[in-house]
Amino acid sequence: MADITAPAYRTIPIVPALKPGAMEGKGPYIANDKHQEALGFPGQLVDNWHDKAIAKMGELLGKFRSLRVYMDACVHCGACADKCHYFIGTQDPKNMPVARQDLMRSVYRRYFTFAGKYFPKLVGARDLTREVLDEWYNYFHQCSECRRCSVFCPYGIDTAEVTMAAREILASIGMGQKYSNEIIGKVHKIGNNLGLPEPALRDTLEGLEEDVKDDTGLDIRFPLDVKGAEVLLITPSADFFAEPHIDGLIGYAKVFHATGTSWTLSSMASEGANFGMFIGSYDQLRKIALRIREAALELGVKRIVVGECGHAWRVAYSFWNTLSGVGDGADETDRFAQMLQRQLDHRYKQPTHICEFTWDLIQRDALKFDKSKNDKYVITFHDSCNVARGSRMGDTPGGQFEIPRNIIKAVANNFVEMDPNTTRERTFCCGGGGGLLTDDLMDLRVKGALPRMEVLNQAVQQHGVNYMAAICAICKTQFSKVMPVYGFDRRMVGGVHQLVSNAIILGDN
């Protein structure tokens, strides 16, 4: 960390000068045999990796028609080229989304198209060599699957799906990523990404009850494994562990307390995050989602509410229904999904985002705030990529942008926007999403944060912003780590419900 420095701010907007090879390297640590085998992947690079990789690619092309379209459709127009935060921050031309995808597209052409099979040189088709494989591993771990480039693609190519496919092929031949795969193993074994066992979680929550009692004089509960509770809260485990995340958890608890909502956390499903999406594995995506169904059925809850976690909300909003039966759409023969459908209360959205939950109460005048409690802050909002581009909230298009902002405006007096080219569906990734929030990628993370830091700096200069709110555990951790490198205080980033927590007026209910 000591020798990592922040790149200089650019005069915005400019296309960065190219630095070919700037980010060549080995990529993040490769998962060891234990982490790989726990997920059913081979422990190390298999002997016949070439044939297996091509077969896997063929399987994915057959299974996901979208992937074949993305391989065929690109016309290299360049609209995406300067839209990627990693390209802007690293200046490595292979981090232009079009170029990164072409690392795979060139191999696709060689093995799956007529022209590439017979005239490879004419169409830029390449054999899958060991060098190409290593290049995949390195550069497909310099994409955070944030899908900003897709917003600008005239064909709507979903770059994240190309990255996911590449990572799935790599893991299936023994080249999984340590950070993500170790974590997925912990979810299955212990219940959350952190590896926080039930007694430690219980101790942490009891400690929080004491703290909040000291602060407010009220008995605000943080219930765990309570059967018959109305709401099951599924939140990232960072909310139990890290700063500033834990202040958001206190905010959720105060909202539940203020409205007399009975709620519970689950020790079995004490994790909202689903890294199955990051590694592109449908099987893992589903397995991780099913823990939540199991907990919901066991506890008999009526509602499932999701805490501040970006990709968790994308998975919950977009995939939980068919994966697990939270929301309508699961297979009719999936007995447990149908059982859960009957159990949940359909007067409410299933699942509900904590911001939808709180905003609904605010609109019904069920919560009272002292906005002056947040007067020391000039607040801006960083849209998290998976919420912004992979989900929605509320009943109207763009609800995922409006609802968090509406909550902030309801609990604080000073709110300003950042440059509109970098918010809402055009938001920049924090630089740590998509399975890249690991110390061994710190250089990449600092460089990838450049576009957001530039725009934040503008807002600081113009408006005196001193609080950037986000609704994603990854954003919160990434910013609190990289902001000091850019000369900002790490405490400048915090959750929306941290602001709610500061301002909420609690009676004795």
């Binding site: 640590y29 952190l194 590896g195 066992p197 430690a200 942490t204 994790e271 110390d439 061994d440 919160k476």
Partner: protein, 111 residues
């Protein structure tokens, strides 16, 4: 596998320098790892490291930052019970850097 050599003996670590076998840990190893992190161990550092190890013994995981600050505050006085104090001792973050020196596994996830 990577390893470190302390007082003529080899100890296995992971790629990032965290001890693989918790039972290998001793004060000399802690001093050695601290040096690689550019930290000069003082009594204040040891107070944190000792608490981490006690907590780990009971719960099989490092404490949350808030649990740690509260415990340190109770033990050593309210002026030390805040994350600024801990960041002062362990600039890369009390969670990861102190765990590494204490010979505990790295907290994983979005932290």
């Amino acid at each position: 596998m990577a390893s470190i050599e302390v007082d003529g003996k080899n100890y296995e670590t992971d790629e990032e320098g965290y001890l693989v076998n918790l039972s290998d840990w001793n004060k000399e190893i802690a001093d050695y790892i601290a040096k690689t992190e550019s930290i000069e161990m003082s009594d204040q550092h040891w107070e944190v490291i000792n608490f981490l190890r006690e907590y780990f013994d009971e719960y099989q995981i490092a404490p949350a930052v808030r649990v740690l600050t509260k415990a340190i505050g109770k033990k050593l006085g309210a002026e030390k019970g805040n994350s600024e104090y801990l960041y002062g001792l362990f600039p890369y973050g009390p969670g990861k850097q102190a765990c590494k020196i204490a010979g505990l596994p790295k907290p994983t996830g979005c932290v």
